[in-house]
């Protein structure tokens, strides 16, 4: 059929898309004003580029390698708590990075649980700082993602194949060769590429666990050039490097990156007849236990330490929590204002190259955009006074690709079901949004809003560039407490931050679904 009539037009979506592109382009302009090619890139910056690529490659490699046995075990075992564990694999999406870092420090840090055991056994202790720590934290965040991607692949193997394999009485090695290995070859490169791109632009992990000449990422180098030397030219040059590196990698990876599984549907294991041997059971149980411990112990330690630390928090933490709350609220508002029209526009197009606009947010790093805007704002106004709105907007940009992935299918479905009815009643434009799309896509809208709110409230990025002591968000305040060795107060702040992220996500997601039902 020729282009089908739709009750909504793409105009507002095109406007929103233009705003997004303009926001990123403006940052480029700002950077272009100060970047002087050929200057500012010394051996230290070369080292930062090498380190960035290396830690991202290692993180990707280790995450996907460990994900194979974990996903395999989860795919073929039915056990109590499996559903909960699979759900928890989605938690790193909304877990504030700095909270996870604190948890990892409690387990793997100098006085952490692991080192205490090593001490008792008279073994040399581990260090979590530097390359080890950065990779460890990235694996912590991305192992669950890789596992979910693989699990999704495993679940795409039709149950009949397993029945056939059981009927033919194939030994484990043949099941591996005929069913599992082809799947891994199909899913793993994409998962590795996605994790590589994510780790290239990671900032908060490098800030807290990296540092020094041997463990500085480009993103961190931008921050240091900006914050410590106030060398805008160097920061701009590094931003260009970051753009080329991360943007290039994102473009290359676009072909292999799989759809990101954000929602459930993975809690039902396919009935299996293979892998019933005792050794296999034992290894699977061990793998799942280790995986669960690796992911859950840091969170457990944060919770325990946080309970002790909560009463010890200075008033500044509560103030920062309040600031964070409104940054998150603003961020959600900006996201919805941009993502809804954009998703509507993408949904009424046949198939979309327009979705690439959302990916701008992934390839353009937050600190790069922050630097660009700082350079532009600086001559006109005091950037520090605008630090919170800028943070909120950048957070919304970062959440945009995920939000579009969530919203577009919901809007498409609403239009496919009732678009024709709207047209025949003349319910078009704003009325179609009000009476069809918003109510029908409410669960997706709530999910996207919750995700954005949680991402924003836990984000430690642009705010670190701009902020002064009066304008800290909770993650930044927590980072300052950690830097000042106020460990207990920091733990309290971490628990508060964790609770806030979870509550925001839960309120938006469940609230919207509940409202949609009544």
């Amino acid at each position: 059929m020729a282009q089908r009539a739709q009750p909504i037009s793409g105009t507002s979506g095109i406007v929103a898309g233009t705003c997004v592109v303009a926001a990123v382009l403006l940052a480029f302009v700002g950077i272009g004003l100060r970047a002087e090619p050929g200057t500012g890139l010394g051996p230290a910056e070369g080292q930062a580029i090498r380190f960035t690529v290396m830690q991202a490659a290692l993180s990707a490699l280790i995450s996907v390698t460990l994900a194979v046995p974990l996903a395999r075990a989860l795919a073929r075992r039915e056990m109590p708590g499996r559903t909960l564990l699979v759900t928890l694999l989605g938690a790193p999406f909304i877990l504030p990075v700095i909270v996870a870092v604190l948890g990892l420090l409690a387990i793997f840090g100098r006085k952490g649980w692991v080192n205490q055991v090593l001490d008792i056994l008279d073994l040399p202790s581990l260090s979590i700082y530097g390359l080890h720590g950065v990779v460890l934290a990235h694996v912590f965040f991305n192992l669950p993602l890789a596992t979910r991607l693989l699990l999704q692949g495993w679940q795409s193997i039709p149950a009949e194949r397993f029945r056939l394999a059981a009927q033919l009485n194939l030994p484990p090695a043949m099941i591996w060769r005929t069913l599992e290995w082809p799947l891994i070859v199909r899913v793993l490169p994409g998962a590795a590429a996605l994790i590589f791109v994510i780790c290239l632009t990671s900032f908060a992990v490098a800030l807290t666990l990296g540092g020094g000449p041997r463990a500085t990422t480009i993103e961190l180098a931008i921050f240091q050039a900006f914050r410590f030397d106030f060398d805008l030219s160097k920061a701009a040059m590094l931003s260009v490097v970051q753009l080329v590196l991360a943007g290039g990698a994102a473009l290359l990876a676009l072909w292999v990156i799989p759809a990101i599984p954000l929602t459930g549907g993975m809690d039902r294991p396919v009935q299996r007849w293979d892998a019933r041997g005792g050794v296999q059971r034992l290894t699977d149980a061990l793998v799942i236990a280790l995986g669960a411990a690796f992911l859950l112990l840091p969170l457990l330690s944060v919770t325990l330490a946080g309970l002790v630390g909560l009463p010890l928090m200075p008033a500044s933490v509560w103030q920062a929590a309040f600031v964070s709350l409104w940054v998150a609220a603003l961020s959600v508002a900006v996201l919805l204002a941009v993502a809804l029209p954009l998703a509507g526009w993408i949904a009424i197009r046949a198939r979309g190259s327009a979705e690439a606009i959302g990916l701008l947010g992934l390839s353009a790093s937050p600190l790069m955009i922050g630097t660009g805007w700082f350079i532009l704002i600086n001559p006109i106004a005091d950037p520090v006074s605008l630090s919170l709105p800028v943070t909120a907007i950048v957070n919304a940009l970062m959440a945009l690709p995920f939000a579009l992935r969530i919203l577009v299918p919901g809007i498409r479905e609403a239009l496919a079901g009732h678009g024709r009815l709207c047209l025949s009643l003349g319910v078009t434009g704003w009325s179609a949004w009000r009476w069809l799309i918003l109510p029908r896509a409410l669960p997706q809208i709530g999910f996207a809003a919750g995700l954005t709110g949680a991402l924003s409230i836990g984000d430690l990025g642009v705010i670190a560039l701009f902020a002064d002591p009066d304008r800290a968000t909770l993650p930044l305040q927590m980072y300052r407490l950690m830097g000042a060795y106020q460990t207990d107060a920091a733990a309290g702040a971490a628990l508060l931050l964790l609770m806030m992220a979870l509550v925001i996500f839960w309120t938006c997601d469940r609230g919207a679904r509940w409202y949609a039902k009544t």
Partner: protein, 230 residues
């Protein structure tokens, strides 16, 4: 009068031509084999299927390229005739005001329409709390408040049982008589034709034939229709 002047529709390898007119106030059944293009014809009238050539004229005014909502047409589809998240009253109200800003007079009209179709007291229910027949009644109440001179039914009652379907056809028949609208209705069942229609448009082999009086054509069907009726 509805006039289709040299109308021609192309959809991939499917073609449909129509050159016919329907007098005002007639009740016309559109019949023909599956895939012959009955729904396509109604879709083109409703503005959902693009017209390749020719004109659709209502009272000698061309509406060929008008937006669906701007045509003098109220239409019911095979399914999804109600918004599941809106109440019955809101669903009906959308037929009056596309932005649902209803004043007291509008609300009274909605209530009267619901009374007329036998849904008194159900205004605040969601469609999921209604039976299949009641959902059809709610959709018909909306057709009533839309008050358009041309009503198109693309088998909205296909999912109902025979007794319920006949109830609905009787209700449609009564409503059309009261409003004086023109009805075009796709159907598969010969007994429906005799129950409600004055005239029949037979669609087959890429053509929609001109309307023929229903009693006549059903008693003495041409060969193609005879083959279809069996």
């Amino acid at each position: 009068m509805l006039r289709l002047e040299g109308l021609s529709i192309h959809q991939g390898s499917f073609d449909l031509a129509a050159d016919l007119s329907v007098e005002q106030g007639r009740k016309v059944a559109v019949i023909g084999p599956s895939g012959s293009g009955k729904s396509t014809l109604l879709g083109a009238l409703g503005g959902f299927v693009p017209v390749a050539a020719g004109q659709v004229l209502w009272q000698e005014i061309a509406i060929t390229h008008a937006a669906p909502g701007a045509r003098p047409i109220a239409m019911l589809f095979q399914d999804n005739n109600l918004f599941p998240h809106l109440s019955v009253a809101q669903n009906v109200g959308l037929g009056l005001r596309a932005n649902l800003r209803l004043d007291a007079q509008d609300r009274a009209r909605v209530a009267a329409a619901l009374d007329r179709v036998g849904l008194e007291g159900m205004a605040d229910r969601k469609p999921s709390a209604l039976s299949g027949g009641q959902q059809s009644r709610a959709a018909l109440a909306r057709v009533l408040v839309q008050d358009k001179p041309l009503v198109l039914l693309d088998e909205p009652f296909a999912a109902l049982g025979p007794a319920l379907r006949q109830d609905m056809l009787d209700l449609v028949s009564a409503l059309i008589r009261e409003t004086g609208a023109t009805l075009l209705m796709v159907t598969h069942a010969p007994e429906d034709v005799l129950r409600i229609a004055d005239e029949v448009i037979f669609v087959d082999a890429g053509r929609a034939e001109a309307p023929t009086p229903a009693a006549e054509i059903m008693q003495n069907p041409p060969p193609a229709l005879r083959a279809y009726l069996g």
